[in-house]
């Protein structure tokens, strides 16, 4: 029926919001296929429907019409328990505002999804430490979020997103609150993880630094997919991208 390598498939998705008495069409029929293991950037001006599409892919929102398949499962068919399971096991989220849970240490933040997944405590702690080492924070496991810099918090968030070996990592403006260098470090880390672990990284972004590492860039404009550029085409038109900036 469909290609096996597609981790996310979006067909004819529309989404309408009610703002007072006016219906606002945020998405006007989007079709998109994302292959496994790719690094995808969703680009688009604010108000283009980028965030709406992104939330749909993340199973955080349901379409008004059309279908969203994550790992060939139609998310509209899932109930609250299955959606929670999907969020816990299949998808790792990274936020612009880091969203490290303030009352917990770095290690506790990383192990929380594993607790939800039913892993026993010792195994979760072992794996949490491994993940923190992977993102270069092995020695800061007992630190509280306010003792970590923005870049470090985002790395904790990346480790947390990887906790249950998800198929997809969804990153919403992951570099939006970071300075140039730390942003670049985070992007490099995400790229490395996607290559090493075969995780599909999907990020919504304004950040042109992201384009260099993306396998595919999806441009959203006015509720539709404007164009999809592959890596090869990107490097050719890199001057153009620069001029757009």
């Amino acid at each position: 029926m469909q290609e096996k390598s597609n981790i996310v498939r979006v067909t004819n998705v529309t989404k309408t919001f009610k703002l007072g008495k006016i219906d606002v069409e945020a998405l006007k029929g989007v079709n998109l296929e994302i292959s496994k293991g790719n690094y995808i950037s969703i680009m688009g001006p604010s108000g283009s429907g980028k965030s709406t599409l992104f939330n749909m892919i993340g199973g955080l929102d349901k379409p008004s019409s059309g279908k969203v398949y994550i790992d060939e499962v139609d998310i509209a068919q899932l109930d609250a328990y299955e959606l929670a399971w999907l969020r816990c096991r299949k998808i790792g989220y990274i936020f612009q505002t880091f969203n490290i849970i303030q009352v917990m240490t770095a290690l506790e933040n990383v192990t929380l999804p594993m607790v939800f997944a039913g892993m026993n405590n010792d195994a979760a702690v072992d794996k949490g430490m491994q993940l923190l080492e992977l993102v270069g924070l092995g020695d800061r496991y007992s630190h509280k979020p306010f003792e970590l810099s923005g870049g470090q918090q985002q790395r904790v968030a990346i480790a947390r997103a990887l906790a249950n070996d998800p198929a997809i990592i969804l990153a919403d403006e992951p570099t939006g609150n970071l300075d140039l260098t730390t942003g670049e470090e985070c992007i490099a880390l995400l790229k490395r993880l996607s290559q090493e672990r075969g995780v599909t990284v999907i990020s919504a972004t304004h950040d042109f630094k992201m384009l260099n590492v993306s396998d595919q860039v999806v441009w959203i404009r006015d509720g539709r997919v404007d164009k999809i550029e592959n890596r090869e085409e990107l490097s050719i038109s890199i001057g153009q991208i620069g001029s757009r900036e």
Binding site: S51, N55, L60, D61, K62, D71, E72, V73, D74, Q77, L78, D79, A80, Y81, E82, A84, W85, L86, R87, C88, R89, Y93, F95, Q96, T97, N99, I101, Q102, V103, M104, L112, P113, V115, F116, A117, G118, R160, D172, E173, G176
Partner: protein
């Protein structure tokens, strides 16, 4: 959107998605305790109105226990002292109970307290929208959030109510001691004292849980996408 009390027998039509997500009680307790510790000052304020209301309840009940203990001695001087201090004792009446007015004031103070708790907890929910949204993105179910809020309120309620019951009892006993002398303390039945304190503690815990009910529901229904919100 299907959320909350969805029965776990809805067919999904897919074999790949499972439904088991867990939060062991011990872990929930640990998170709640941490949450209280980190937000200690806020917890203290939330609990303060409870402490005051419960100590008032405890004060009223223990004062009645003291009066009953004094009446039970059968000493006419003590009886006269009680009447002088404001107890309406009919001739031949050998026990006092809280008057309608007293009960009314106690109920009012408990109501005010519950409103205070609801208010404080609603603010806590607003403050913690990102934390709740993030937990939901990590796979937390509505009832995990409910459980965390109820546990926190239960712990706060228990500690606050114990403190309140103790303050009320101590205040009432020292008041009686100053007014009537040592005999007031020695004639009071310890069993009745304990029962009064236990009732006050129980009422306090119940109030705390009642007060958090609506805020916890608001928190549990919060959509995970809230975690993505950038503005405060």
């Amino acid at each position: 959107m299907s959320n909350g009390s969805v029965l776990p027998d809805t067919a999904s039509g897919s074999g790949q998605v499972h439904r088991q997500v867990v939060l062991p009680f011990f872990k929930a307790l640990e998170i709640s305790l941490k949450s209280i510790r980190v937000r200690f000052f806020r917890s203290l304020i939330t609990t303060m109105s409870l402490v005051l209301a419960v100590s008032f309840l405890s004060f009223v009940n223990v004062s009645n226990d003291v009066a009953n203990g004094m009446l039970a001695t059968g000493d006419p001087d003590l009886r006269a002292a009680l009447i002088r201090s404001g107890y309406d004792l009919e001739p031949g009446q050998n026990s006092v109970d809280s008057s309608a007015k007293q009960r009314w004031i106690v109920i009012l103070s408990l109501l005010v307290c519950i409103v205070g708790i609801v208010n404080a907890q609603l603010m806590a929910v607003t403050e913690r929208f990102r934390e709740i949204g993030t937990m939901k993105c990590l796979g937390a179910l509505d009832r995990f959030v409910l459980r965390l809020f109820f546990l926190e309120a239960g712990i706060q309620g228990f500690v606050g109510a114990c403190a309140g019951a103790l303050f009320g009892a101590i205040f009432s006993l020292s008041n009686a001691w100053l007014r009537f002398g040592t005999v007031a303390i020695t004639s009071t039945s310890p069993a009745h004292l304990l029962i009064s304190a236990a009732i006050a503690t129980g009422v306090g815990v119940l109030l705390s849980l009642l007060g958090v009910f609506y805020p916890a529901l608001v928190a549990a229904r919060m959509q995970p996408v809230e975690a993505m919100r950038v503005e405060q």
